[in-house]
């Protein structure tokens, strides 16, 4: 049974035009596919090769390239392998097609990606807010959203004045390097 299915899978992956297949291990296959061909690929994987389980949809914001990468991880219980289908869509306007009609779990992931990255999935059952109900800022997982700056702008930090510090300050010492002034603080680590 599963042997037939993997033959099916091979035929399928060989026949499809415009996709790039990389077998990374016996149970991991990476497929790069154009956005317009992805729903068809998933449909075929599910319908013809038993990839019935949508494990996750991941979104990556490649801001420098102006693209969102969407990765659909689908698993076949019968073949025992995971296909990760990668596709890239334009960051602006960031609209794509829902695969809810193929995989029911897509509803959660698409809603999540819409909320965190601002990608709109046409045909997804519910694109309303879920986690960030009262959030009024930009989609926070986008690379151009600086959460640290936002936090610094919106929260006050506890300011400590313990006795020991006052004693040291009286002797001429005191706070020398704050965490954010560290020579290679997380902010300028990549800049160098």
């Amino acid at each position: 049974m599963s042997k037939d299915l993997s033959t099916w899978l091979d035929t399928l992956l060989n026949e499809l035009q415009g996709i790039e297949v990389r077998r990374r291990s016996s149970r991991r296959i990476r497929v790069d596919v154009q956005p317009d061909a992805l729903p068809a690929l998933l449909e075929l994987l599910r319908g013809r090769a038993s990839y019935v389980h949508l494990s996750a949809i991941s979104c990556v914001d490649w801001i420098d390239e102006g693209e969102f990468e969407l990765v659909y991880h689908v698993w076949s219980y019968e073949i025992g392998s995971l296909v990760s289908a990668h596709t890239r869509i334009a960051r602006d306007p960031g609209v794509y097609i829902s695969v809810y009609d193929i995989y029911t779990p897509a509803a959660f992931f698409e809603r999540d990606i819409h909320e965190m990255f601002g990608v709109f999935f046409e045909g997804s059952p519910d694109m309303s807010r879920f986690i960030l109900t009262e959030w009024d800022g930009p989609p926070p997982m986008r690379k151009d959203f600086d959460s640290e700056a936002w936090v610094n702008a919106h929260f006050d930090f506890q300011d400590y004045q313990p006795d020991w510090l006052q004693e040291i300050e009286a002797k001429g010492g005191g706070v020398a390097v704050r965490p954010d002034e560290q020579r290679f603080s997380r902010r300028d680590l990549d800049a160098s």
Partner: protein
């Protein structure tokens, strides 16, 4: 006490009404809300509402060094932290091509199974409490603490272990540790008849749990159900066996399953898994003295660690189901993107919503606990 902005609203007369359970409610796991539309006692529609525990971990991790993220990973799901750690480090290891020493792999399995035991003991208590039986919860918490004692000794932390590190684990086992593991396992096993007596064969519980939140295998597959919840519908699928990682291929264990697909079947699968986890842990305890060598392969200076560009999707079987990290590196010192796929992202949202339609109000809490839904996994 009423909130300051409270205003009583007059509703037109109706047979339908709305009810919010949570975000703070004993019938809800964690900080999570479930909005129900009811007709009498019958649920017409349920809507999950998350976000009360959103910590932005995925965003936070993009700003930290690869190794600094170790401290975040266990915090995603508190009752069962080890699978989070392990799958994250597995992803980093896959990206870096690190060879993890065998001893470290066995130690990871030991942690994973101890963590599964602790998590299941926790869940039984919660589930029993939703049916009004609190003793199981007290017992479960007390016995779980014995496992946490082992974790404290092995990892230095009771709940947030931060023990796994890309390339291996952080320390070797302390002297006499395996004996104490053995003793605790023996004790836990000796407690099982008590638990059976108290909960699993207790007709009060059995009658209450049977037929609640039933789903068929087809539904489970369609809804993306995984883990014990999937096995309770008769599909013997377990990532540990069917997509093996670490040294699970070398271990002997059964995959318990049930056919009914209801709250009772799910709990029963967990109860049987407890036995299997004890069995696996015993195999590790027996094998560890023979597996010598280092517990960590050499890794670069954490401050200087750039991980080669690429992406990895690593799945493990947590106590709740399929757990995976999708980790992307652009060759930098920090992850470019991390995405966690928690089993509860399905169980606590869509599956719970679907199972609640037509259910009775008093079964909602039980359904949620029987799915072992962990809201922190949804919120991240």
């Amino acid at each position: 006490m009423r909130p300051e902005n409270y205003e009583a609203q007059r509703q037109p007369p109706s047979h339908e009404y709305e009810l919010n359970i949570g975000p703070n409610h004993p019938g809800i796991e964690g900080n999570y809300a479930f909005k129900l539309r009811l007709h009498g006692d019958t649920v017409l529609e349920g809507k999950a509402d998350a976000g009360y525990l959103h910590r932005g971990f995925e965003k936070l991790m993009e700003g930290r060094l690869w190794i600094q993220n170790l401290a975040i990973t266990p915090r995603i799901c508190v009752p069962d932290p080890v699978p989070m750690e392990v799958s994250y480090v597995l992803a980093v290891e896959e990206l870096c091509g690190l060879e993890v020493p065998e001893r470290a792999q066995w130690l990871r399995v030991l942690q994973l199974e101890l963590s599964r035991i602790a998590a299941h003991l926790f869940t039984f208590g919660g589930h029993a409490a939703t049916t009004g039986m609190y003793s199981t919860m007290f017992w479960g918490m007390a016995d779980r603490d014995l496992v946490l004692d082992l974790f404290e000794e092995l990892t230095g932390g009771r709940v947030y272990h931060i023990y796994n590190i890309p390339g291996g684990v952080r320390r070797d086992i302390p002297d006499g540790f395996l004996d104490r593991v053995k003793r605790t396992l023996d004790y836990l096993e000796s407690r099982l008849p008590d638990y059976d007596n108290l909960l699993f064969t207790n007709q009060v519980f059995v009658q209450r749990a049977k037929g609640v939140g039933t789903m068929s295998r087809e539904q489970a597959l369609e809804w993306g159900v995984t883990g014990p919840n999937l096995r309770a519908t008769g599909l013997k699928f377990d990532v540990r066996r069917d997509d093996p990682y670490l040294v699970y291929e070398d271990l002997e264990f059964e995959i318990p399953s049930e056919e009914a697909g209801d709250a009772w079947a799910r709990t029963l699968v967990r109860r049987k898994e407890l036995v299997e986890s004890i069995r696996i842990a015993r195999q590790v305890v027996a094998a560890l003295p023979k597996i010598r060598g280092t517990i960590r392969c050499p890794i670069p200076n954490p401050l200087a660690w750039s991980v080669p560009a690429g992406s990895a999707y690593t799945r493990v079987e947590s106590s709740k189901g399929e757990l995976a990290w999708y980790v992307v590196s652009n060759g930098g010192e920090r992850p470019y993107r991390t995405h966690v796929r928690g089993p509860s992202q399905m169980h606590a949202v869509q599956v719970l919503e679907k199972l609640s339609v037509g259910a009775r109000l008093e079964d909602i809490a039980q359904t949620m606990f029987s799915l072992d839904a962990c809201p922190p996994e949804v919120d991240r």
